[in-house]
């Protein structure tokens, strides 16, 4: 019986694992205690893999440049942008954003850009971190 995987499996025992162990090598037994230790500096977190340039992360908005033309609202696929008519500026709900960056392309004064932040999970969809204005 010819099993071609056997030599390869044998060699795998001597190689380093491919997985990047983010955030820790093994799952901690008490997650909240582990996070408290990290913020005090007692424990370390393995960093995630670097993102390339041009990565589409959380949106960033430059209030000063915005002229209130509402083109970004017209092309947003999920309706994540709201217009504030009294100030003529916009409010973006990151919880609904699909990170397509179409609003960046359409803006005539280039006031929108995408950062490389992607660790955005939150229990409250409308918390302060997830609303950009």
């Amino acid at each position: 019986m010819r099993f071609t995987m056997i030599p390869r499996v044998f060699m795998q025992m001597f190689k380093k694992p491919w997985t990047n162990k983010f955030p820790a090598k093994y799952q901690p037994s008490n997650t909240t205690k582990y996070l408290a230790e990290v913020s005090e500096g007692k424990a370390k977190i393995n960093p995630p893999i670097e993102t390339p340039p041009g990565f589409r992360g959380k949106i960033q908005y430059d209030r000063e440049k915005c002229i209130g033309c509402q083109l970004c609202i017209k092309v947003c696929p999920s309706g994540a942008i709201e217009f504030k008519p009294d100030e003529k500026k916009i409010k973006i709900y990151v919880a609904r954003c699909t990170f397509c960056s179409q609003c960046n392309d359409v803006c005539p004064v280039n006031c929108l850009s995408m950062s490389d932040e992607f660790l955005l999970a939150d229990a409250d969809l409308y918390s302060k971190d997830l609303i950009v204005e």
């Binding site: 999920s78 309706g79 709201e82 709900y93 609904r96």
Partner: protein, 177 residues
């Protein structure tokens, strides 16, 4: 099977010779692509529903066609079904897309099945029955396909008139912002 390959204009003429006035409209579109500007062809035919089955049989005489899908339109007082076929696959850059459209009045939306010529049409015919309310005569299996069994009878999601699903839609994002 196929004798020799016909050009798009010859294909249109082949149908017009056989069915004369029942072919109501025809259109041949040619587009080019790439640097070498090779062209691809789309043919659109509009036929009367009384000769529908004969047209399909006539088509199968050229070559066994490939049925991609059947799409449907609600045009107010009629329902239009468009059958998207393609012919002359199997050789490089030879394929022709043929779209045959049939109009059915809403008062009597009945059409014959083509499953005896093309067995692969079963899935798409079942979908048209439940989504548009078209009755397909002679279909081997007329159960619902995509809609659940407790979906109300008489509501057809693709229609734009009073039988559409307007009050069955809930806009979740307007619930809380």
């Amino acid at each position: 099977m196929s004798k020799k390959k016909m050009s798009p204009e010859e294909i249109v003429k082949y149908f017009k010779d056989e069915f004369k006035a029942k072919v109501k409209d025809s259109r041949v579109e040619k587009r080019v692509a790439g640097v070498k500007k090779k062209e691809f062809v789309n043919i659109w035919l509009k036929i009367d529903k009384s000769v529908f089955k004969d047209v399909i049989k006539h088509l199968c005489d050229i070559q066994f066609p490939h049925l991609a899908v059947v799409s449907g339109n609600d045009l107010g007082s009629t329902i239009e079904l468009i059958y998207h076929f393609s012919l002359y696959y199997g050789e490089r850059l030879n394929e022709v897309s043929l779209n045959i459209s049939v109009e059915l009045p809403k008062s009597n939306p009945v059409i014959e099945t083509i499953c005896d010529y093309i067995p692969g049409a079963l899935t798409t015919e079942r979908e048209k029955q439940e989504m548009l309310g078209v009755k397909i005569r002679g279909i081997p299996d007329s159960r619902r396909l995509f809609l659940p069994d407790d979906f109300p009878e008489g509501v057809y999601p693709w229609r734009k008139d009073e039988t559409g699903p307007k009050d069955m839609v809930r806009n979740l994002h307007e619930v809380k912002k």
